[in-house]
Amino acid sequence: MILFEDTIAARATPAGVGAVAVVRLSGPGARAILEAAVRVGPKKPWEHPRRLVLSQVLDAQGRCLDQVLACFLPAPRTYTGEDMVELQGHGGEAAVGAVLGRLLELGARPALPGEFTRRAFENGRMSLDQAEAVARMVEAGSRAELLGAGRALGGELGKRLGELQEALEVALSEAEASLEFPDEEDVTRRVTVRLAPCLEALLTLDRAVRRVGDGGRPRVAVAGRPNVGKSSIINMLSGTEAALVTPQPGTTRDAVPTEVVMAGRALVLVDTAGREPEAGDHVPAGIEGSGPADEAAVRRAREQAERAELVLWVASAEPASGDTAAVRRELSAGLAWIAGLGRAGLGVANKADLLPAGIARALEEELREAGSVLLSARTGQGAEGLVARVAEELDRRQGPADGLPVSVRQAEALRRIRGALERGLENLERGAVELLAEDLREALAGVGLVRGEGIEPDSLDRIFATFCVGK
């Protein structure tokens, strides 16, 4: 089956100079373009599929552009399901550019982003959940995430969805049979529609997935009043001087994203300026009376918090020397502000090194009970506790780091399945089997959404295979 008529070409390795760069071709013209583009010895790559054959890519005048290892992969057992060619050339920009340019001259078209994978999906080489897993695999920022994406690519998500679908279809066929054949004893005897396996399958699936945000990696914003050490915390966590730190309050005016791996999870830490003052608030020093640049910065900080999966509210632990409650008050005020934005928050009291040991211990204990963390960004004391809490919060919100990654769209569909099943349970309890059947269909449509395909359950087929019905 030839789905696409044109042949696409792209560089498969990242831009920049490297030892080797790979250029790929896919489409019905891949072989012809390869034959036209190279000079080969007695061994021709298209006669030795799936082997690397030394070849020279020539320009229109017959001059050598690059010496490459050419590999011809005949359809259909290729990544895209089409004829493919891979050329491993020298990793210089000029060499790669020249080779790619030559392929385009010979009739290939530059591939759009993700087009190779799209072709793989449309040619039936992979399901949509696998295609999405490829993107997650490329994006994976940690070993755990890579493992999760790998399992999804291997079809584990599809398998779990298959189990859920099976359970739903069995329940649906029982419901339908009891409606369609009210006279049949075989049906009426089994009229109890078993939803438990559906719920169980959904729960297993829910626990196995990692919900990936729209931007890919989860963003963790670090917020707090000026000069509580937000940037220092980021530097401590990332081990670099990514954020500009000065003793001057309000130094950070722009949110600076820093990519880090914490507890097996790749995430983006976002530094923010001190938060926007609100009416009735104590206006923090440093923002008071400042210019429009600062106002813009705090507005951006708010926006960053709104986009984040988790917001750390940092307060200085220093006032605890007098009264530990003052620190707790400041943390709960901040967390309330975060909750008001509809985000999840985590309280962090910094500068523990400024407290006497006894008070620090007491404060740490009090904070732990409230789910907050005592930290010294300067000494690194409490860093492990913070990492653990961040991981815990993200686990709770997104699923485990090595979970099967699902997109926002897929996560929404999973919620839809859950909603439908909950309604179905209620309807079953009051005997509204016809409504339960609708709910089960809705849940099945949800499974289809996760998979990226429509599901048309043929409950009649299943009924006839399972029940002895008919006059």
């Binding site: 696409f4 409606l179 009051r430 409504l435 009649l460």
Partner: protein
């Protein structure tokens, strides 16, 4: 018959009977079963000169199998038929001897009426309707060929050499076309027990390029009631109140006395059947046609569900006199001696006399994907097919198609656009769409789960759903239409009133409509307190509508999506093989079927979302190619 036949007065003809033969008819209908009677009545009542050809005028509207009308999905069809002006509902109401409301304890969308009729009364009623219908001539004869001219079909040729010239022909041949009765290893040509088969038309259709196929169905033996011992069997009595199929008949009490009875097969029955399998046409490969899975023969049940040592048998009376019983559940094509032995191994039937044995019938059908949604043949204008010839099974399914085919033949003669009901409007729409887009591999029976909008396609609101169509078709008399409009207005008014009313007049309380949405609240209990005086039927419609509002709204949104997609037309004459990315198998199906819309294409067997995407992509980029131009020509232009 217990009631006077109203047809002579309702259809106040001039009494002038023109002869069908030797002049130009508007419509010739071949076959006077449930499809043919509805088709012929519809054509004639719309004022067109119509002939109904039958092999035997004493066997009009025969109930060849069990004596019941209705059931889930089917009763909705009968209600729809009645909403549009069909006859089946009235006939069933007039001749019912036992009535049950199925799924009465479940939700209203899946409740269904089912009656046992007196078979002889039913056929007599229908024959009287046909014979009393002005402009309709019942012609005895054996149609063997079609007369075809350049513009399409021109009439029917009978075996004796006569010709019926007609602008449109409706074929409703049931199981008679190439019919073959299997009784053990013996196979005799026949359309029904004791009746000859029809020959010739199949090869005529094949010569015209139609594909044909074989299907199979079966029926059990009939038992002499006096030889059956009913004492000790579980009776299944009639409900006390009969809800009529016809919208014009009020509910009425059912006189007691007629009941069905339940018994069961025994391990001995199964042993006898297993022994007899070597002489079963089904298990010796003699029957090639595919039978219905929902109506398996008893030998099929015994083999496929070997772990069961007993199956239910329902003894249904076939008439008011209760002389003959129909044993529902033991349809068979085993040899008569085996039948007699296994029947007698069933409790209550130890001395049962078989009036006639059960048998299987194989017959020709014309795969319905060769039809337009109007039921007109794609390759032969003016030829309409309805009923079992389209691969369906069931009286109700046949009657429904018959009505649509008759109406559309009449509309064609008049130059009017055909009536095509939507899947969101009627089970009839679901059925026709299923047939012409997907075809069928086994005899097609309606199931409520075939309808995406099951909660909307109910018995109670059939008239409301189809009111606009009924007005457009024009089969109902003005008095009937006015009465129905009045009832629908009452429902509307009641629904509106319930939205305003609050219990005990408390302004802060939720409206009654809201209260009614709770499953445990019944309007019938509220109504007397509120002083609402409306008929049961109006009450029920209003209640159901309110109770399902939320789900129906969601389903309607889905339907809207479907119709938006459906709205995207597909050009005619498209060669799907020319579209890269559509598999040969699907391309062949699409090219043959020529779906007119995306929604139709989407339902083609084996169609994948990816293929639809490719199709939509291809159309976006090449544009719709007008009929007659080749794909390449379109691109050049």
């Amino acid at each position: 018959m217990s009631e006077n036949n109203p047809h002579r007065s309702t259809w106040n003809g001039t009494g002038h009977r023109r002869r069908a033969l030797g002049r130009l008819l508007d419509i010739a209908v071949v076959g006077a079963g449930h499809a043919g009677c509805e088709a012929a009545l519809a054509g004639a009542r719309l004022g067109l000169a119509t002939a109904l050809v039958t092999l035997d005028r004493t066997r009009v509207a025969e109930m060849s199998c069990n004596p019941a009308i209705g059931g889930l999905g089917k009763s909705q069809i009968v209600r729809e038929l009645d909403a549009l002006g069909g006859e089946m509902g009235r006939a069933a109401d007039a001749t019912a001897i036992q009535f049950r409301r199925l799924n009465a304890s479940k939700g209203p969308a899946i409740r269904a009426r089912r009656v046992q009729c007196d078979q002889a009364d039913y056929a007599a009623w229908m024959r009287a309707a046909v014979e009393g219908c002005p402009g309709l001539e019942l012609v005895e004869g054996h149609a063997v060929d079609l007369r075809v001219g350049p513009g399409g079909v021109e009439g029917v040729r009978l075996e004796d050499g006569r010709e019926l010239l007609a602008r449109c022909v409706v074929l409703t041949t049931g199981t008679f076309l190439g019919g073959c009765l299997h009784l053990g290893l013996e196979c005799t040509p026949g359309g029904r027990y004791g009746e000859p088969a029809a020959s010739g038309l199949t090869s005529a259709l094949e010569r015209l390029g139609f594909a044909t196929g074989r299907l199979k169905t079966g029926t059990p033996a009939r038992l002499r009631a006096s030889s059956v011992r009913l004492e000790g069997l579980t009776p299944q009595p009639s409900d006390r109140v009969v809800l009529a199929f016809s919208h014009d008949h009020p509910p009425r009490p059912m006189p007691p006395g007629v009941a069905c009875h339940l018994t069961r097969t025994t391990p001995e029955t199964h042993a006898i059947i297993r022994e007899g399998l070597s002489r079963s046409p089904l298990y010796t490969g003699r029957i090639r046609g595919r039978g219905p899975r929902y109506c398996p023969s008893i030998e099929d049940k015994v083999v496929r569900f070997a772990d069961r040592d007993s199956h239910q048998v329902i003894l249904e009376p076939t008439g008011r006199s209760q002389a003959v019983l129909y044993p529902n559940g033991i349809s068979t094509s085993l040899p008569p001696d085996v039948q007699k032995r296994f029947v007698r191994s069933i409790p209550g039937l130890e001395r049962a006399e078989l009036i006639r044995p059960g048998y299987a019938v194989e017959y020709d059908f014309v795969p319905p994907t060769q039809l337009l949604p109007s039921l007109e043949a794609r390759r032969l204008p003016g030829l309409f097919l309805a009923g079992q010839i389209n691969g369906t099974s069931g009286y109700e399914e046949a009657a429904g198609q018959g009505l649509l085919a008759g109406v559309n033949a009449a509309r064609k003669v008049r130059g009017q656009a055909p009536v095509v009901l939507g899947r969101h409007e009627a089970y009839l729409g679901v059925m026709v769409d299923d047939l012409v887009t997907r075809g069928t591999e086994e005899p097609y029976r309606m199931f409520s789960s075939r309808a995406e909008l099951r909660l909307l396609l109910r018995e109670d609101n059939a008239a409301a759903r189809l009111q606009a169509w009924a007005e457009r078709i024009g089969l109902l008399g003005e008095a009937v239409r006015a009465a129905r409009r009045e009832r629908l207005a009452q429902v509307e008014a009641l629904v509106a009133q319930l939205g305003e009313l609050r219990e005990e007049g408390a302004p802060g309380r939720p409206s009654l409509a809201r209260v009614l949405r709770r499953p445990e609240v019944r309007l019938a209990e509220l109504a007397p307190r509120l002083g609402l005086e409306v008929s049961q039927d109006v009450l029920e419609q209003a209640e159901v509508r309110i109770k399902y509002e939320g789900y129906v709204a969601r389903q309607l949104r889905e339907a809207e999506k479907l119709s938006r997609l459906a709205g995207r037309p597909l050009p005619e004459g498209l060669d799907y093989h020319a579209i890269p990315g559509i598999s040969n198998e699907i391309a062949s199906k699409l090219t043959t079927l020529q779906p007119t819309s995306f929604a139709q294409a989407a339902r083609v067997d084996g169609m994948t979302p990816a293929a639809l995407m490719v199709l939509s992509f291809w159309l976006d980029h090449r544009g719709c190619v007008p009929r007659g131009t080749s794909v390449d020509g379109g691109e050049d232009a």
